[in-house]
Symmetry: C2
Subunit: 140 residues, 2 copies
DNA sequence: AATACAAACTGGAATGATTCCGAAGTGGAA
DNA sequence: TTCCACTTCGGAATCATTCCAGTTTGTATT
């Protein structure tokens, strides 16, 4: 897992810095927890001599642009990062904020999700990003 | 549609103010466009004597808390508002930002969506909010 | 091992959507 | 008409995130 991320870094031509190694360590250690920037920053500081918040942001952005991780953007919460970049539904608890992965393909009926996972859905939000018909026609 | 929203306001015990009526007008006129705060604010200013941005935010929050509309939160875009609060997938164009509704139930295969709607999916994000198994067990 | 340069890091300032707050205004029930 | 809880106002505060200009550092090459 860790070695995997490091080799992906090299493949992409990205440099191996102490800060990036620290961040990778944190990501791997928290791969089930969908860690946020604050946690990653705090933990990374313990592992590397110098780490700035700007670097953490830049690095996580770099990683997600290169497909190593998946950025989960929220409006009033800080970003969370998913070490598994494959498609799945994130079950987000209103109360504790815990994020549980629910893998696709699966029935999307809330009733069915409750039966399989014990998670009661009160609100759904699904977004598929891409390109609309009109923009596909247009050149450039 | 407009009368419908107004009667819902009354049902909830919310007062009918010129600002709210203006905002409702804007929502109804732009119900297919998933309008954002800026558009709503600008248009509402044309319809009512005095409207402040704070009021627009407060009103839209009030409306969505009461189920009149659905708030769509993004990270780097301003919120958009959906006059149709039922569950559906929002197809968001990376390029023009247009949001197209894709109704459930439907096959969720990107390939299928492309065939039916002409929308090419490049990235998906689905969130189901609710309560996890652990929190349901816990009292209070 | 030394050199060179693009890439990466830093931290403080800037951004921008949203919320907060205290004061002023106003629907609408009595 | 009176009254008051609900609304509105606008400016300040918040807070995650980005930007920027200067400094440091991997790493490929000599």
């Amino acid at each position: 897992m860790k070695e995997d991320l490091i080799s992906q870094l090299k493949e992409k031509g990205l440099k191996l810095t102490p800060q990036r190694l620290a961040i990778i360590d944190v990501l791997v250690e928290n791969c089930d927890g969908h860690p946020g920037v604050t946690l990653i920053f705090n933990e990374a500081c313990k592992k590397a001599k110098r780490v700035s918040l700007s670097t953490v942001y830049a690095t996580l952005k770099e990683f997600s642009e290169n497909g190593l991780i998946k950025q989960m953007e929220f409006d009033r919460m800080e970003n969370r990062y998913d070490v598994d970049p494959s498609d799945h539904i994130n079950l987000i608890c209103n109360r504790c904020g815990k994020i549980v992965d629910y893998r696709l393909p699966a029935t999307l009926e809330p009733r069915d999700i409750a039966r399989r996972s014990g998670f009661v859905v009160t609100d759904t939000r699904m977004e598929f990003h891409g390109y609309c018909r009109d923009c596909l026609k247009r050149p450039d």
